[in-house]
Symmetry: C2
Subunit: 334 residues, 2 copies
């Protein structure tokens, strides 16, 4: 960045976010998702997790009922639990959150695009039903548009925020997947009164996310680099997905997994008697990283048959040898 | 930054901070202040205000008694009040906090190097007394080493953290003044158990401060640029201090102010009947910014005679004309 932008990247942006970044998010990121937001409806956060922390602090009081996907994003669960929420763990099937089990929730947290960790996509029909339910029960929905920016399937479903006509959906987005997690930049799109409240709290908590990073990402978007980068990234992800998928077909036939094309990981269920924790431990010693799934269930799970395999940072040529090694280890365990 | 540092500035640093930055803070920043800390006694924060927010969340429960300087740093007051603290407003004289009014405080927040906003320096004698008091009453002290990095007086007093033999002092530092506020980088030095607790909370709140900024500042320090920059900065600040001081002598004779050399601002008290708010408002219209002091008092103050004049970002040649203009406006009011 040159002298030209000196103030933009050195100043203390207490009352407003980088105007160029807000403009780029509005016109290059949100419009692609069918969301049309005014500047005062957007807040920049220190990554999407920071957005959830701020939302937890503002929306949750001791005893607030929040419905969350199970299995689900453990950090969100920890954040909302710390804020005092009563967590209702709602099962997830191949179409996402089971809406018949929302009970008396006042707040719903969901990752509709790619459910973490199962990768299920919440069907459009369920999105409409969830919105109608929220209107009837006067509930709010926190929609974390997890991994949509790297969705290479090309058929991303409309976010609930784009379908929402009564400001019930609070939309959370991130640059951690499309740029880098170390950068810590995300954003919230919501009713301007809620955004003002979140901004006040963010002001106390940290004043604002670093100005230099805000402007850097704004320029990256404005100059078209972000779009170009996403195209390359999606091509690479698609290759790795196919490689891992065919490897699993060959080496782990019959192990259940979601067939949804997209995302950055697979969610697998091993046969009866299989222990994912044991496999993970042995595999780590052989240089293969898998993530046991039981910690992703609310309150932990006695079912130790699930695990997650992330492929976003594994070069294509190392995927098949890794799966072969994993199979050898699994054969000694099952 | 080059490819060489790629992982350092893109990675998700959830469990530990940038090792190079911690090393630089330990060996180049803290040693200058007589503080010797192990890596596990240091946490990087998103500026010093974020450090205070984390400390408030971990140390304060509803009803915790905290003694704070009055007048004092309003954001710290808001943060601790939001955490549920009972705030004891303790007067400040030319030697800093009045130790005879600490009452039943369990926690003390102080800016000993340059008290904000009066610029008083807590005397060495009071530092020892405050430490002894904390040991006797089992209290903790949060020491915000405000503006020490830009102290051009050359006679900075030892921080309480360097005198502390019982881990009662929690030290807060910042790069906002010595680098830029937009960067948002600060740090806490404390007992390793407290640091571990703060790190867990920070992990939920934001995962970590941006990795790219951590490594950038680490390199800036490691290559000696920070020291070189501080030398230049101190020379410029000293010039501006003298310019403002002689201007006030000439144009505002008899108006009370601290005579302490250093800092980045002056704290003035006008004559009886003078309204700083009124002056601030009129002066703003004439392009001169002063900050009325009443909002810096706990609960506000009916005494509207105090104001703060910051000079760090005002070029030397604009200082005397600004004071002359301020005098013209003041003459119409007093």
């Amino acid at each position: 960045m040159s002298k030209k932008w000196f103030n933009a990247w050195t100043d203390d942006l207490y009352l407003a976010d980088d105007a160029l970044l807000i403009e780029q998010i509005r016109t290059k990121v949100l419009t692609k998702r069918g969301i049309f937001a005014r500047p005062e409806e957007i807040l920049i956060t220190l990554g999407s997790q920071n957005a959830l922390y701020l939302l937890g602090a503002v929306l949750i009081r001791p005893g607030t009922q929040i419905a969350m996907e199970n299995p689900g994003y453990y950090a969100a669960r920890d954040i909302f639990a710390m804020a005092g929420a009563n967590i209702q763990a709602v099962p997830v099937d191949h179409e996402g959150l089971d809406l018949d089990q929302l009970g008396s929730a006042e707040l719903v947290f969901a990752t509709p695009s790619h459910q973490f960790p199962t990768n299920a996509t919440l069907s459009l029909e369920r999105r409409y039903r969830l919105l109608a339910w929220a209107e009837n029960t006067d509930a709010l929905i926190i929609e974390d548009d997890y991994e949509v920016e790297t969705d290479f399937s090309g058929d991303a479903t409309m976010p609930m925020k784009a379908l929402d006509r009564s400001s019930r959906v609070i939309y959370v987005g991130s640059f951690s997947k499309s740029l880098m997690p170390g950068l810590r930049l995300g954003f919230v799109v919501a009713d301007s009164r809620l955004i003002a409240e979140l901004r006040r709290l963010r002001g106390l908590m940290m004043r604002h996310p670093p100005s230099n990073n805000q402007r850097t990402v704004a320029l990256f978007l404005a100059l078209g680099h972000h779009d170009a980068y996403l195209s390359r990234m999606k091509r690479v992800y698609a290759e790795r997905w196919h490689e891992l998928s065919s490897g699993l077909d060959a080496d782990f036939p019959g192990w259940k997994r979601q067939t949804k094309f997209g995302g950055s990981s697979f969610w697998l269920e091993g046969p009866k008697g299989f222990s994912a924790s044991q496999l993970a431990q042995k595999a780590l010693g052989a240089g293969v990283v898998i993530e046991p799934g039981n910690a992703l269930f609310h309150g932990g799970s006695s079912n130790d048959r699930f695990f997650r395999m992330a492929f976003s940072s594994i070069p294509k040529e190392r995927i098949r040898p890794g799966i072969a090694r994993l199979r050898e280890i699994a054969e000694t365990l099952v």
